[in-house]
Symmetry: D3
Subunit: 169 residues, 6 copies
């Protein structure tokens, strides 16, 4: 960004030298196996948690609907995030862990691609939309639910290599 040495400072890659947003050129990048995993946490009242939990064993499968929403959203990422590249994803999985002691549902999504750019945004979009769907289906009984801890857990492939949350410290 500076005149002298572009390597001196961190730089927002989605802007050109004039500060204009652009979808960056990835055509020179190699096609490699890329995988990314992200998570989110939906916190709620114990009564709401009990309703979701019971749906797993009986009627009303909230998590089954949220899983489909998350998978479909991963495929729509480039439609939603302005500077994301459209990608032919090769795998999307969304899973849930019930955390009764925290009265929360943990969502984890893994996305894979053989391609020229990473799939972090696809994994983050999947957990976000799965969480929003969970909120939607339970909001009549608990409008105070909160969605948090949305973050990248892990990614591999590409020039920047492997990232694992917690390693940076």
């Amino acid at each position: 960004m500076g005149a002298g040495d572009p390597g001196d400072a961190p730089r927002l890659t989605h802007f050109d030298a004039h500060g204009n947003a652009a979808m960056v050129d990835v055509s020179a990048k190699a096609e490699t196996e890329r995988v990314a995993t992200a998570e989110a946490l939906v916190s709620m009242r114990p009564e709401t948690f009990a309703l979701i939990e019971s749906g797993q064993v009986a009627k009303g499968d909230v998590l089954g609907v949220a899983r489909i929403a998350g998978i479909m959203a991963a495929k729509r990422t480039a439609d939603l995030i302005p500077l994301c590249h459209p990608l032919a994803l090769s795998r999307v999985a969304v899973d849930f862990t019930l955390l009764p002691e925290r009265s929360a549902v943990r969502i984890e999504a893994t996305v894979a691609l053989k391609g020229r750019t990473g799939v972090e945004m696809e994994a983050l979009t999947a957990v976000s939309v799965a969480a929003l769907t969970l909120y939607d289906m339970c909001k009549a009984v608990d409008r105070g639910m909160t969605i948090g801890d949305i973050r990248l857990l892990h990614k591999s492939g590409g020039k920047s290599g492997t990232y694992r949350a917690g390693d940076e410290a």
Copy 2:
């Protein structure tokens, strides 16, 4: 959901008596003015925060791009959340507050509609996608950013009346 009296217990409205997901019938509801406001918080390293902040006064307007993404996503809510009704939104606004002391950006979205169902999901979707866009544009310098505190702040209109976060306690 209980055998005796459906009014006895909280119930997930998006499921019918057999536990099957459905888009609930709102055709008998009155058309009223409905407004919802939601928020999200994106936390990052101080260096990343400084890059966003400087973009506001110079080159590289991250927040301008995230705002457009959030507004457009509000209009796509029914495409993303399986049981949401398609709605002819009459207003969408997305705003940002820089919180230097927390090294975070707070996002707030307000959505309005004259219609038969609420717009909470549209406001929550707007802040979520604005937050994801912010992550996307800064991820090359800070993959450890986290998105949290996504919640409904306020909603009015409709049979269930007004909700304000914090009032429930």
Copy 3:
């Protein structure tokens, strides 16, 4: 369509006097309650039917996924069918009946709207996409599945009044 009297003969309403396709004007129509129900039948080998049936009571809920796909597709109808009007649907439900004696799954969708045009296409699109999803999830074990009997069962509301399949004869 003939020169003399346009009222003489049945006529394709989606074409103007010059034979050009158009989305017909409904702005003068009254807003009434409109409901439509459609069905489809997916036929398969008994082994495939057994897999779907067992998923209902154990792991692998094929019908739950197909239901969500059908509901979401109803909302996309105007994106898919060129001359359909975009509509703010007020209700969508998709249900399945297992027909072991025919080794088939019957799909029924009901869509409702308070508006200026009917929702037949939305109900037909819902059953079609639910059926395609069912095919997709079972195709690895049975590529010979067939989808048939897609038809309108019933519709009410609007100037043309009530239609019930079988009444016309």
Copy 4:
């Protein structure tokens, strides 16, 4: 699916070991030429058939509109069918055969791709949406039209090799 040997029984590939739906991983598959052909049949009253037939030689080209709808729908398949992979299709063609003796229109779609997964669903989606469009354009004169015989005729490419309808018996 059984505990002992997963190879013993047919298995629904879109579910993981816990019965959760997922978009299956195709990244290890080879890129091969893949082609799929599907068909559908739209049956109608002779008067309706006559209107469509006359449109082919004069005003009101119902089939031309349905063809475009089918081609565009093939490209939207991954948006509609939850567990389908997004694919960069290399060819889509939709054709119609008028069957006056059956008062029906036969629709055939062929889709091709050089890629890691098959295009059966794209061909089936193309014929289904072309059929729905045909219904839409003629419904004002014939609400009793039915769509049937939607099936895969042929597919080639990929590990499972060539399939031809009728060969399985």
Copy 5:
């Protein structure tokens, strides 16, 4: 925009007092009949024009395909133009006039709505996408085609009343 009198100067309505883009609030506006007509002109080499013209009477109906694309695009306007309101359009028509003396095709689109905001953008989007489709189908023989004269011809309804191109001078 100034503090004293907002009527003093023209002002861009899609920005709030802080210069932030927003989808403006139309919920207080009355539902009125709104109509807008727009046009575009596609200029080409005489040989290209001859191919299009011959398609009208024989094989290869370029204009039929472009018409469908224009109608469908009008319905997608709010997906494409960031600050446009989603609208339940009640009519869309796209027509073509062959101008042999100018070796050009004139496209005209009319859109109607009973609603709270105008449909100018829907009419302009319809002619633009119809023109792009025409370009796409002829580009193999004439990459030098140009699209121009895209403008609003007429609009009525709403608080700002009737506009007719040419009246302003």
Copy 6:
């Protein structure tokens, strides 16, 4: 198209031998680097131009919003133009030049892909939607704005080689 020699006459490649529209087969084409650049010109009243120009240095960044709309539209091209192939674009950039002497804004878009078909339509769609967005944001002050000179400036890659506007004469 003719019986004897298909090379004799220019031919519309999007139609088969029977005159039916189709998405042409590109699976046999080589994957090469493909780049296309297109432009558009938006003409307006000097007062409108002054508002846009001032937004660049102060509040109300019309061009920033139009840029995002153009980039996102490039990714939607295959959804809009019926016979376009879906493509995994590797780069999209949209830039603006203010032309005070003409009271106009010039828009230029460049799109790149490593793939089997060209990206001319993506570049043309980007400039068209950026221009429509500019119109939308300024229409309250200037409904007489016109969009013109939409054309391909340059393309490279693929069997047909390099094209540069103006060279054909």
